[in-house]
Amino acid sequence: MSEQNGQVITRLPEPTFKQKIARSKIEISIGMVTLGVFLLYLIGAPDVFTHYQIYYSFMTTIPITGILALSLTFVITLGEIDMSFPSTMALGGLTMASIFAATGSVALGVVCGLVVGVACGFVNSLLIVGFGIPSIVGTIGSQFFFRGIVNVIAAGAGISLLATQTAKDSGVYFALAGKIPITESDKIPMQFFWFVGLGVLCWFVFKRNRYGVHVSFVGDNKLAAQMMGVNVKRVRVTAYVITGLAAAFAGILSNLEVSYYYPSQGEDIMLPALAAVFIGGTSVLGGRGSVVGTFLGALIMGSLEAGIISLGINGFWIKVFFGLIIMISVSVYSFIMKRST
């Protein structure tokens, strides 16, 4: 394009090391915190943390919080929030389990569950983008509504995925929650690969794709984005659909791991998933987000409970540590962001 204008193309100067560091200060901070937390585990409970078993356990549990948090990074960078994802997760999980129980097909169950998740995303979009209701209000409403539907349909009963026919024979089960043997005794659960794979995909979409750039712009200055021809409504709707889809997927993964659907699914996931996004450096004010930060934030939030117990600290202390980690990390971000302006 610049050649058409008859202009000289300037060679791009290489960024200095200092500039590179400054550009990734959030990722570097959260990376150091993650390293610190895991070092603490290792020093405090070497017996537990030098054995593979605890990491195997993390690899089955963290992906659920992690996938939810990854998807929330988009909606939070928009300067909005989705409070309904735990209920969407339960509704997606319930759909998958019911369809499987009725038809015996895991694949059909998974597809239907995901479709329901997308539908939940559109319901949120209708409220927030369509009717202009503030996202926190709209999704508190839909959160009760989706959970209510789960309560009515499930009527408090769980659904076993092993009752008359087993979900474990299916190829879909293997692809989503199978175990890959790495040594004679140790395995890696498939969920872990999904978490890493979706993390990489989210990073590319967030940093290297038109959509991610537009999410940051809309979160930063909605009017500017609109004036420059960004389809703001479509960007916002897509974000709620991404969260809905990811929530249903998390519900499905959770079903398959334990081969059982609990009607209370997702009830205690809201705050850890949101906290993972915030300690990862994504700003609740919008316009600034980090997928790498969210990924690492999920590692911290997802490991804290088991970590603290292994350190021999009384379980009643868990929430104190959760609180401290969140308060300290967001204070640090506030400090480094202020200093740079």
Binding site: P13, A225, G287
Partner: protein, 268 residues
Amino acid sequence: MSGAIKESESAAEVVAPKPPLLRMVDVCKRFGGVQVLDKVNLEIGDNEIVGLVGDNGAGKSTLIKTITGVHLPTSGDLYYKGEKISIHSVKKSREMGIETVYQERALADLQTIWQNMFLGREISNKLGFLNIKEQKRQSETMMREHMGFTSKAITVDTEVEFLSGGEKQGIAISRALYFNADLIILDEPTVALSLSETQRVQDFIKDIKRRGHSAIYISHSIYLLYPVCDRFIVLDRGKVAGVLYKKDVTMDELQEKMVNLVKTGVLE
């Protein structure tokens, strides 16, 4: 220079009249019972900087929003490069080469300079994945060669919030120039800027002329408009009260005429 252009235009008129860049014919705009634009007829020529003047409520904002496709005219026609514009929208007017630089600065502060430069027209493949290197390189060209940034502290990766108000408007204007907008609409671009920053924006506007583009410049200050404009369109209560060429009027006379217009309702 402008005389030479006029001569060649009038010579060409005999063979095939070259249509003006933009022509508005009997454009009316009504909001409910209020007639905001009343049979507006005007033309913007090639490589011409036109000052749009008028008191508050004269209809300046509505006029430019009609040109940029924010509002549709209640009646009347718009012609761009001789062709009638039928379906008009913000997106379409940008595609045709009409860009607007707003007083509220259409930039996002937390995003980098290169992201702002390419907002809404990113270089990307079919799946939307960006060619970041190319976008950064072109932004670098724009910054160093059009905007005269020399500081090493400011790079294409700098977030816009670190720039001064004048530099931000510079980005908005350079963005329009770079993407070859034929008609750049400047809606009070210097409101909220310091004196030296205002001067920078004035220099950017001179650059629009030098590069062969056209502009409509809206400002309350005759002192800002006069040095950079070729012609002035005076708007009063939704009507074009008069058109004045710079060669026919001094800055003081123009100022006086504007004051009288408010008092008497007639452009002398």
